[in-house]
């Protein structure tokens, strides 16, 4: 099995890019691959717990929890996250908070890296 690291940079919650990153991660994890996701920029807003799930509105929490249960490692850029007013104790349990070196280490050990940016 392979090791895939996905860098999800701009991805606003509800955006096509964000949804694509999560669905690709889910498909890879389902096939038994090891998957890591790094959130940066506006994607970090999605790690806040207790998101209200409105009908036909894409939110991250439910999907993120399902990915964590499948063994996907998810880490949010701490600086980006706190800059958006989200405190660590408000985050979804299981999601890691760290700095860019976490992402660099994952890139270094991954078989494939997909950096999704620019929307």
């Amino acid at each position: 099995m392979g090791n895939l690291t996905i860098g999800c940079y701009p991805g606003l919650v509800g955006s096509m890019t964000y949804d694509f990153a999560l669905k690709l991660a889910d498909a890879a994890a389902t096939k038994g691959h090891k998957v890591s996701i790094w959130f940066s920029g506006n994607a970090t807003g999605s790690v806040k717990a207790n998101q209200k799930h409105l009908k036909d509105y894409s939110t991250g929490e439910k999907y993120l929890k399902a990915l964590l249960e499948k063994g996907v490692e998810i880490c949010t850029c701490e600086a980006c996250t706190v800059a958006r007013g989200v405190k660590k104790d408000e985050g979804i349990p299981g999601i890691q908070w760290n700095a860019m070196h976490w992402y660099l280490a994952k890139i270094y050990s991954a078989d494939r890296v997909l950096l999704i940016g620019g929307e």
Binding site: L24, A27, A28, H33, D111, R112, L114, L115, I116, G118
Partner: protein, 98 residues
């Protein structure tokens, strides 16, 4: 090097693609990029489809835009997310996102 490139927008990214030097180039059309596989202007398909014989389009992104897999240019293989994962690991050494 075998390079797989995700094209996510319905804009001609040929300049960027032509700068890539790959022994094997694959283009995976996702999001609004799937319009390259379904839309003809003045009867002509997107010139992006002439860049390589290795063309793929994500079924979910085709259908969510109200089109059918049957609307896709015959040169393009329709794939699902699981197929994309297999392309990433089995067909290409490096992957990029445009």
């Amino acid at each position: 090097m075998k390079l797989g490139v995700f094209v996510s927008d319905f804009a001609l990214t040929t300049d960027t693609l032509e700068r890539f030097k790959a022994d094997k180039l694959g283009i995976i059309l996702v999001q609004n990029g799937v319009y390259h596989a379904t839309t003809k202007e003045n009867g002509k398909a997107s010139s992006l489809l002439d860049k390589t014989p290795n063309l793929y389009a994500l079924s979910e992104d085709i259908q969510i835009r109200g089109m059918k897999d049957a609307d896709v240019d015959k040169r393009v293989k329709v794939v699902n997310y699981g197929d994309v994962v297999d392309l990433i690991f089995n067909e290409y050494d490096k992957i990029a996102w445009l």
